[in-house]
């Protein structure tokens, strides 16, 4: 151990150590530099920040077929919810307000109801109660919940104009400020 101390104090030998570290470190930086296709680049679909949002097509409460890929070019707030979940209930009014205020700026809200764990009558009553005007999608088989590895109600994904997930918020309720500031960030991005 004392040898190490002597080495440390010796300016010549320690300079050699520092130069050696610089050469090895620099070489490693060069070797491990990233080929452009090696980073995720949002190309692999996965329900995580920095990845492409997994594609799905669902029927909405009003009977339309809606696909996530239809929304390319818009900022999408994808909210997975159920009518029996209190935090989902608590954050819906804020979601509706943020949708109204930003829809014309290019915001779309897709509220996917995990209908496999809910019932349609309750969903309809819920939507009426809060006067929700954004599309309510019905995940009757639970496939979207699975594809998005859902662990808690509600879970919200903020997806940018290129279809890449930029932020995931597990649980709730989200405040209007959280929603609005996150949406602002994404709307300000120029694709």
């Amino acid at each position: 151990m004392n040898e190490f101390h002597t080495l440390l104090k010796d300016p010549v030998r320690w300079s050699l150590v520092v130069i050696g570290a610089a050469i090895v470190g620099g070489f490693w930086i060069w070797v491990s530099a990233v080929p452009v296709d090696a980073t995720t680049g949002g190309l692999i679909p996965s329900p995580r920040e920095g990845f492409l949002a997994p594609e799905f097509t669902l029927e909405s409460l009003s009977g339309d077929q809606i696909s996530l890929s239809d929304m390319r070019g818009k900022v999408v707030v994808l909210n997975l919810w159920a009518s029996w979940c209190p935090p989902c209930r608590a954050e819906m009014p804020a979601l509706q307000r943020v949708y109204q205020e930003n829809h014309e700026r290019g915001l779309e809200v897709l509220a996917v109801n995990i209908t496999a764990q809910d019932n349609l009558a309750a969903v309809e009553a819920f939507v009426q109660e809060f006067n929700l005007t954004f599309p309510i999608l019905l995940d009757t088989s639970g496939k979207v919940g699975k594809a998005y590895i859902m662990r808690a109600f509600p879970t919200t994904f903020f997806i940018d104009q290129e279809g890449v997930i930029q932020r995931v918020i597990v649980g709730g309720p989200m405040s209007e400020v959280t929603l609005q500031s996150t949406v602002d960030q994404l709307l300000e991005e120029v694709p």
């Binding site: 151990m1 101390h5 440390l8 104090k9 300016p11 320690w14 150590v17 520092v18 570290a21 610089a22 470190g25 620099g26 490693w28 930086i29 070797v31 491990s32 530099a33 990233v34 080929p35 452009v36 090696a38 980073t39 995720t40 692999i44 679909p45 996965s46 995580r48 920095g50 990845f51 662990r151 808690a152 932020r167 918020i169 597990v170 649980g171 989200m174 405040s175 209007e176 400020v177 959280t178 609005q180 500031s181 996150t182 602002d184």
Partner: protein, 250 residues
């Protein structure tokens, strides 16, 4: 990768819990370490606590300043228990500055304080790696090595495991080296050097690196600079202390 621990109706965010546990054990260790440097353990734990509180407040204020209009409308949101509305840089700055102010006021001298904190920081790094294992963050690039793991839609380097192994090794080195006390600041500076080298090495396997200059991993450049800086500091500190020792008897 089990980010949420479900105990009956309670969903506990495991990564956060691990970081909290690391912080607690790390602080305990730092408090014990004070005996070695004849510091007041109360001062050290207060400093950690104040730094944390300031970091959280600073992080929230930093975020709110960016969206001032929204927060002026609903100022109560400043108190929201939401980790997504925190700003990292401002938080770290606020934490460091308040720790420095506290240390200054209590007359804690710099290098013994840093040496005292180091074993705690080394243990915290282990919990940091465990939190990454739990959340699946800090993941690796796609690879075909036999020990690759299936994660986020690809077979990847298990960077979280590498991180854990390296953090454990660094801690073992630090727990040994702190007994030598070659000179004041040795344990801390060596820890900085080892951490920088670890990150420089680990970052090469990461699949989520920030890229600068087209293809270089930004974190590697920062680690490289820190490594060189810490290695040079080790030499300078050893000389300074040697001179002091020479001078004292005279």
């Amino acid at each position: 990768m089990y980010p949420i621990l479900q105990i009956g109706p309670l969903a506990i965010q495991l990564p956060g819990l691990l970081l909290l546990a690391g912080l607690w054990i790390g602080t305990m260790l730092a408090e014990r370490e004070t005996a070695r440097y004849k510091l007041d353990p109360g001062h050290i734990s207060n400093m950690v606590f104040i730094a944390l509180a300031a970091a959280i407040i600073g992080a929230r204020l930093g975020y709110a300043l960016k969206y001032l209009d929204l927060y002026l409308d609903e100022p109560l949101n400043l108190l929201a228990l939401n980790l997504n509305t925190l700003s990292t840089t401002e938080g770290i700055a606020a934490g460091l500055i308040s720790a420095m102010i506290y240390a200054q006021r209590k007359g804690l001298s710099l290098t013994p304080t840093l040496d005292t904190l180091t074993p705690g920081a080394a243990v915290f790094a282990i919990f940091f790696a465990l939190a990454h294992i739990s959340s699946g963050d800090a993941f690796g690039t796609a690879t075909t090595v036999p020990w690759a793991i299936e994660l986020w839609g690809a077979t990847r380097h298990p960077t979280q495991i590498y991180e854990l192994l390296i953090a454990v090794s660094v801690m073992l080195v630090i727990l040994q080296i702190r007994k030598t006390k070659f000179f004041s600041g040795f344990t801390f500076t060596l820890f900085v050097a080892l951490s920088a080298i670890s990150r420089l090495f680990l970052e090469g396997f990461r699949g989520d690196s920030e890229i600068v200059f087209g293809s270089v991993r930004g974190a590697q450049l920062i680690s490289f600079a820190m490594m060189i800086f810490a290695l040079i500091a080790l030499h300078l500190l050893s000389r300074n202390n040697a001179e002091k020792k020479d001078q004292t008897p005279a």
